[in-house]
Symmetry: C2
Subunit: 149 residues, 2 copies
C-alpha cells in the first residue's frame, strides 16, 4: 500500500505517472528526513538501474517542490557549498542544524524563535512570508567526518 501511494500522489498533482517520477518519489519516501542534492538523487537512481538523465532529475525535483511534495533548501556555511538540497515535505515546518564535517542534518522547531521572528517582522513593517534558518556546527557522532569530501 505504501507502494501504491506514489502513482496516486502523482495523479493528484496532475503529472503523468512515469518511471523517473516514481523512482524519485520512492527514493525520498524510502529515506524520510534525509536531505539530498539533485546530483545525489541522480547518482542513487543511476546506480540502481535504468537510464534517467540528470536534466530529468532536476525537472522532477522542481515539479515536486512546486507541488509541495518536496522542500528545497540551500545550506551555505562560510565555505560555500552552493547546491540545492531537497527533502520530503512532511507537513511540519522546521529549521536545520548542519554538521560542517560530515554533512549530517538535524531538524528542529522552536516556538520561541518562530514567535520572535513574527514580532520582529511586524515591528519592522514587514508582512512575513517565509524564512530560512540554518545553523552550522560540529556534531559529535563516532562516524562523523566520514562524509567529508
Amino acid at each position: 500500500m505504501s507502494q501504491n501511494s506514489s502513482p496516486a500522489e502523482l495523479r493528484e498533482i496532475g503529472l503523468k505517472v512515469t518511471a523517473p517520477r516514481i523512482k524519485v518519489l520512492e527514493f525520498f519516501q524510502q529515506n524520510p528526513s534525509s536531505h539530498y542534492s539533485a546530483e545525489e538523487v541522480y547518482m542513487a537512481l543511476s546506480k540502481d538501474d535504468s537510464d534517467i538523465g540528470i536534466a530529468t532529475v532536476y525537472r522532477v525535483l522542481t515539479q515536486f517542490e512546486q507541488a509541495g511534495i518536496l522542500l528545497r533548501s540551500h545550506f551555505e556555511s562560510s565555505k560555500g557549498d552552493s547546491r540545492a538540497i531537497y527533502e520530503l515535505n512532511e507537513g511540519k515546518h522546521h529549521d536545520h542544524l548542519v554538521c560542517l564535517d560530515c554533512g549530517h542534518v538535524e531538524e528542529f522547531v522552536d516556538p520561541a524563535i518562530e514567535k520572535r521572528q513574527n514580532e520582529i517582522a511586524k515591528s519592522l513593517g514587514f508582512k512575513l512570508q517565509e524564512h530560512a534558518l540554518a545553523m552550522y556546527g560540529h556534531c559529535q557522532k563516532k562516524n562523523c567526518r566520514s562524509k567529508k569530501k
Copy 2:
C-alpha cells in the same frame, strides 16, 4: 581622514594597495549597511570610470571577506536568486529581513533568538559555529517594487 583609512586597512591585511582594492573598499564604506552582489559592485565601479575586471571584483571581494572586512550572505527565497551578497563588516552580528518585492534589506539582532539557538545546538550535541537566518516578506515603503526585476 576617512579617505586614508582605506590604504591603511589594506596594508594591515598584507594586501598591496591597488586601485581596484581601494575602489571596492571605498564603495562599501560610502554605502554602509548596504548589500551588493559582485555584479552590482562591478557595475557601480565600471560606470564610475576606469577599467576594472569582473574577475578582479570577485577576487577582491573574496580577499576582503577572508580578511573580515566584508561579510558574505546568500538570500534565497522560494524563487531562488542565487548570488552572493556582500556588506561591510561593522563588527556587530545581525540577521536579515529581505523584501521579496524591492530587495530592500533590514538588519536586526534578537537576543532571545540567539540564546535559543545556542540552547538548541547544545541539546542536539552540536558545537555551534555560525548560523544564517534570513526572513523574507513584503515591506511597506512607498517606493517598493521599484527594484523588481
